[in-house]
């Protein structure tokens, strides 16, 4: 009894002492956020015709796919019995927001992402299915679905359909991540989560993290290939990162001001929590290092003129800090929402384990996995004009 209650302060109901939603549940909104954000960046080029970000269009799509494939894994690892997740589709539970997420996910994966990538790459797939040999030839052949029609007419059709799918894809990306916010925001018993602003804040923070991730991946892959970073592209991405961030920050401030002014019965408890148990992750990492510093860095590049190399470093620093800040935000939502008692009279602790099923080790593995998948995808569907083809 006394060991169990270690770290408990004041009064907790028995089922609140131990946190049920672990670090893995922190990963889930983080990863889906990266998916939605990366896709929205890709659609900038396609729908809003922002030519400058073209070099990242395909990379952003593949990044979104790589992370989308990993997105359900933390949930399955947390729940156990991954084979049962299929039952969600067999016997849909229409009144459960969590169960319906399966359909949102499937829609986004099958109808939006895979289709858009396929249409965009069809020409290369057909060409590769003819030039490759061995197993890979058959892989590409299968991907052509047996049609090697890449006449200008066919490509025009692809372009049209691809455009329509991107247009459908934007609200879908909002749905995907807004939905994650909705799952938290609709828990009315929990004042830390219950807010109609939650889905909107989630969407904008998703855009911020996704754009930052693509920026880092773009610079990293370009340098790895020993190519020149396209500064016009980088400047544009950074500008959009800045805009999205300003909106995100204003929304979070709005939420904060609203809570402070409303000061309902939960306020003192939550306020105390933010100043004690969440101090480092919320105030230091999320707000200061993860929001204010990158915002100032990005604002500086908008106002003053810097050398290219300096700009690149500033963008990278701002993006990395942003990624850490958004991770802290997910952490504070998920873990913070479980640290206080619904009686508002006590607090518990979250003890992160290491090499257990829901520990730090599997979480790190799950964050590395999308990069391995991305590496495979890039090999399969090169997002940049291949040197092979040029040679």
């Amino acid at each position: 009894m006394q060991e169990v209650l270690h770290g408990v302060e004041g009064f907790m109901y028995p089922d609140e002492v131990e946190l049920q939603w672990s670090l893995l549940i922190v990963l889930y909104p983080y990863i889906t956020g990266l998916v939605a954000g990366a896709f929205i960046l890709a659609s900038l080029e396609r729908v809003f015709k922002v030519e400058a970000v073209k070099p990242t269009y395909r990379l952003a799509l593949l990044t979104a796919l790589a992370f989308l494939i990993v997105a359900p894994l933390p949930l399955q690892l947390h729940l156990g019995h991954p084979e049962r997740s299929f039952e969600m589709y067999l016997t849909p539970h229409r009144t459960s927001a969590m169960a319906m997420f399966g359909f949102v996910y499937l829609w986004y994966l099958m109808v939006v992402l895979l289709l858009e990538i396929w249409l965009d790459y069809r020409k290369e797939i057909v060409i590769l299915s003819k030039s490759k040999t061995g197993v890979m030839k058959w892989v590409y052949k299968a991907m052509t679905l047996g049609s090697d029609n890449i006449s200008p007419g066919a490509l025009r059709v692809d372009d049209r359909v691809g455009y329509v799918i991107t247009v459908i894809g934007i609200p879908s990306a909002f749905l995907l991540h807004g939905y994650v916010g909705f799952i938290f925001g609709s828990v009315k018993a929990n004042p830390w989560w219950s807010s109609p602003l939650m889905p909107i804040v989630f969407i904008f923070s998703a855009m911020v993290s996704g754009i930052a991730a693509v920026l880092v991946i773009y610079v990293a892959t370009t340098l790895l290939r020993k190519e020149q970073v396209d500064m016009r592209c980088l400047d544009t991405i950074a500008r959009y990162l800045f805009y999205a961030f300003v909106i995100d920050f204003s929304l979070e401030l709005l939420d904060l001001v609203h809570r402070i002014y409303e000061a309902d019965e939960s306020f003192h408890t939550l306020d105390f929590m933010v100043h004690t148990r969440l101090y480092v992750s919320q105030i230091v990492i999320q707000i200061f290092l993860g929001t204010i510093v990158p915002l100032l860095l990005l604002a500086a590049t908008q106002l003053a003129r810097f050398q290219e190399a300096a700009r690149r470093r500033i963008y990278l620093a701002a993006s990395v800090l942003t990624l850490a800040g958004i991770f802290a935000m997910r952490w504070n939502v998920v873990i913070g929402g479980q640290l206080f008692s619904k009686s508002f009279l006590g607090y518990t602790n979250y003890k992160l384990e290491f090499a257990t099923r829901e520990g730090l080790l599997p979480a790190i593995a799950l964050l590395i996995l999308p990069f391995l998948i991305l590496w495979g995808l890039v090999k399969l569907l090169p997002p940049w004009p291949s040197k092979e083809a040029a040679a």
Binding site: M1, L5, V8, G10, F11, M12, Y89, L90, T91, H93, M110, L115, W118, R122, T144, L145, G146, S147, N149, S151, G153, A154, R156, V157, V161, G346
Partner: protein
């Protein structure tokens, strides 16, 4: 009909998706349990499965039928609200066949489970620092488990 010629790959894709949907529907038919959803979002046979679980608790009424003395004593004391098996543990086997002797609870561990002083417990609830309070003696040296208030 140029458009159909150039959209041939899309028709193939649509056919593929159609096949996937059909395959899904076939699998769905095959694996959904009989009568799913008849009483709610579960399979009706689950009720039978649950009913087949062995019963562990006999319930307070059963104990009181054979132990009226304990019941009477307990009813007058502060523990009147507690169920017998809250302290004695599940005793369905004993209630069915009294020859199966129940193991008596370990007193100090049992009492401390509810009465050990803890700031997370509501203030009104009687609690003591057992070590200081009992001076190492077992609780039933001074308290009757079934009618615990001292001096009653």
């Amino acid at each position: 009909m140029r458009i159909w010629k150039d959209a041939g790959h899309l028709i193939r894709l649509a056919l593929l998706l159609g096949m996937l949907v059909v395959a899904f529907l076939v699998i769905r038919r095959a694996v959904i349990p009989e009568g799913f959803g008849r009483y709610g979002h579960f399979r009706p046979a689950a009720l039978e499965d649950v009913r087949a679980h062995p019963i562990h608790f006999a319930g307070r009424a059963a104990c009181e039928a054979c132990h009226p003395d304990v019941m009477e004593l307990k009813q007058k004391g502060k523990h009147a609200g507690l169920s017998c098996e809250a302290c004695h543990g599940p005793l369905a086997k004993h209630a069915e066949d009294p020859e199966v002797k129940p193991v008596l609870p370990k007193v100090v561990a049992l009492c401390s489970r509810c009465h050990e002083a803890n700031s997370a417990r509501p203030k009104w609830f009687p609690q003591v620092n057992t070590k200081e309070h009992s001076g190492g003696e077992s609780c039933e040296a001074c308290h009757k488990p079934h009618k615990p208030k001292f001096g009653e």
